[in-house]
Amino acid sequence: MQAENAKKEIITLDYGSGGEKTSRLIESMILPAFDNPALRVLGDGAVLKGGERLVFSADSFVVTPWRFPGGDIGKLCVCGTVNDVCMAGGRPEYLSLSFIIEEGFPAEDLETIISSIAREAQKAGVSIVTGDTKVVERGKGDGIYINTAGIGIQRAEIPGRSAICRGDAVILSGSAGCHGAAVMMARAGLLGDDVLRSDCRSLEELSRAVLENGTVRIMRDPTRGGVATTLNEFTEGMPFSIELTEEWIPVEPAVEAACELLGLDPLYCACEGRLLAVVAQEDADAVVEALRALEGGEGAARIGTVTEIHPGKVFLKTRLGGIRFLPKLSGQQLPRIC
């Protein structure tokens, strides 16, 4: 494929058929971007060196539009799975990468996405070792869907929510809701690329810093449903609750403005480059300080405390001094006018 022609080419059904066009796609676009020994073999599966205990996670990515302020679906599909492995205490090593592309998708856009994937994989220190490409008829796919599955070597045993106790500190590694707000902004015809960008990033470094500086009960990245929904996953059915203090929660002014305009709540907007950690009280300051010293963690803050009133719930102490309960999000947030 000549470089120039590739720009004007679109992905057709032939590219997914497994025949000659598929080989050309792999050889000209995919292999050069991700070259590594395991992938070069081009076997049906990758043979890898493992460890005693492995962490394994998978995720699919269907974001529309595929490009948004601060990133694209390529960056997202690497970070999403890398982050899940990190949150479970793994050091991410290998990723699988599967595309489902809609007929007519511009090859140029696919190249952009592949470059993003390669760049992000390199930053996170992971190798893309296996994958698949399918092409579906026009109208049967929303441009492009991507699935990634990731394997990591366990580096820390994280006990989970059963270890959470009263007095523990809740830490958020940066301002809330940037990704969700950025995507909604792109969809609603708001402009503000320079002030509102997705927070999408790999949490490998930040999660390591948390594990090295404190006793961690649980860690999770607040993706769908945002900070509030994720914290409910910690408290649901348990004898403790989480109290957040409104003044302590970092929210960027641009996110606040975009959310107000559209009738959204930053605490329920997805983050793709933030981590929520519950750590022992005495370690809170050290963890926050360690995060703030790292790229992507500058806005880290302690946002709340584990308590025993209203067990099972998440609630907010408002600026006014009142209480506001934060239940799980039921369904997607829709822009409101009312």
Binding site: G189, L262, R319, G321, R324, R336, C338
Partner: protein
């Protein structure tokens, strides 16, 4: 202008609340009603209810235009959405509201193939019509006086452009007739009104004077920040405890005595008062707005033969009483059981500003209401 920081952080909430409690010692509980869905949400979001003295009851009245839209109207909208070639453009709030059949809503119809899109502004709907000339775009025009001028401008723009594939289903409501119906109802028991600040920005503060002069009721026109709400509720308590009703404008940074004349005229050019069915209140002779004859070509009710009838209320559903302030959301037998945000029976649970949705989101029954 970071002034909003001041309005958000009044800083003296504790003392103000204590003063409220002092004023009400030995008195019967005071019932205050707000009639604006945005006030419902703002009050819940600031946690104000959890701070108010026990003797102050804050009721949510018919302030959510979606909640007062009858089930039958939703049924017609849903049927319209499934007709081929129709694209519905709507504010997000309407997308989950069921009609007479629980579970049937615009979002579900969309999943079954209907063309439905959430828009932020009526002008976005016009853009959709221009982008899709082979489709008929219908904009669902809900709202009160705040929204009427913008909706009017949208219709006039469609007329100016000669857009043939665009129409508005006018579901706009007027605040005053509903307030009068509420007050004149036999079971009315409200001591004062928190009046909607953005409706007042259009109509003018004086539009609410009838509450004082004809009914002797205290009324405060309030903004939406914590400081605004705290002040407004505090003033209403003072008026009630002193037995001295007034009409007070707290939202002076935005609301003028006569409001926005240009906006009012803009709405008058396109709309005229009409008889309108309000869920929970009934038929009000001038309760709604209809599109004037000269703009008939952009009137979706006319274009598609919609009658905007009442429909069936679902058994057990207390939306009507909740809207009127007669029942708290959690007193409805369906609340939290058959009727939840993910599976709503009535609009009060679905609409972002419905009293039941707010009660659910903010767990209001747990605040000892």
């Amino acid at each position: 202008m970071r002034y909003d920081a001041v309005f958000r952080n009044p800083g003296n909430a504790e003392q103000v609340i204590r003063q409220m409690a002092d004023r009400l010692t030995g008195r019967d509980p005071v019932r205050l009603m707000e009639i604006c869905g945005t006030h419902t949400m703002a009050i819940a979001r600031t946690g104000l209810r959890s701070l108010l003295p026990e003797r102050v009851k804050l009721l949510s009245g018919p302030g959510c235009p979606v909640c007062v839209t009858p089930a039958g109207v939703m049924d017609e909208i849903l049927e319209l959405s499934s007709r081929p070639g129709i694209r519905i453009a709507s504010y997000g709030d309407l997308l989950r509201v069921p009609g007479s059949t629980p579970g049937d809503c615009l979002l579900r119809r969309k999943a079954m193939g209907a063309l439905t899109e959430a828009v932020y502004s009526p002008m976005d709907a016009i853009a959709l019509a221009e982008l899709n000339p082979e489709e008929e775009v219908v904009f669902l025009g809900v709202g009160f006086e705040t929204t009427a001028p913008g909706t009017a401008a949208c219709i006039r723009e469609a007329a100016r452009k000669g857009l043939r594939n665009f129409s508005v289903l006018c579901l706009l409501k007027q605040t005053e007739p509903a307030l009068r119906a509420l007050i004149e109802a036999p079971d009315f028991h409200v001591d004062g009104f928190l009046c909607p600040g953005h409706v007042a920005a259009i109509t003018g503060a004086e539009a609410f004077r009838f509450l004082l002069e004809e009914y002797g009721l205290p009324a405060v026109i309030s903004g939406f920040e914590a400081g605004d709400l705290l002040y407004s509720v505090s003033e209403l308590i003072r008026m009630v405890s002193e037995g001295r009703p007034e009409l007070k404008n707290e939202y002076i940074r935005l609301v003028k005595p006569r409001g926005n004349e240009l906006a009012k005229k803009g709405a008058e050019m396109v709309f005229e008062p009409c008889c309108s069915l309000w869920r929970g209140i009934g038929e009000l002779p001038e309760g709604g707005l209809a599109i004037r004859r000269e703009y008939e070509a952009w009137d979706a009710a006319h274009k598609f033969g919609l009658s905007l009838r009442a429909g069936r209320e679902l058994p057990g559903c207390c939306c009507g009483e909740v809207i009127r302030g007669g029942k708290n959301p959690w007193e409805c037998p369906l609340f939290g059981k058959r009727c939840t945000p993910s599976d709503p029976v009535g609009p009060c649970m679905v609409s972002g500003e419905g009293a039941c949705a707010a009660a659910w989101r903010y767990r209001l029954w747990e605040n000892g209401d």
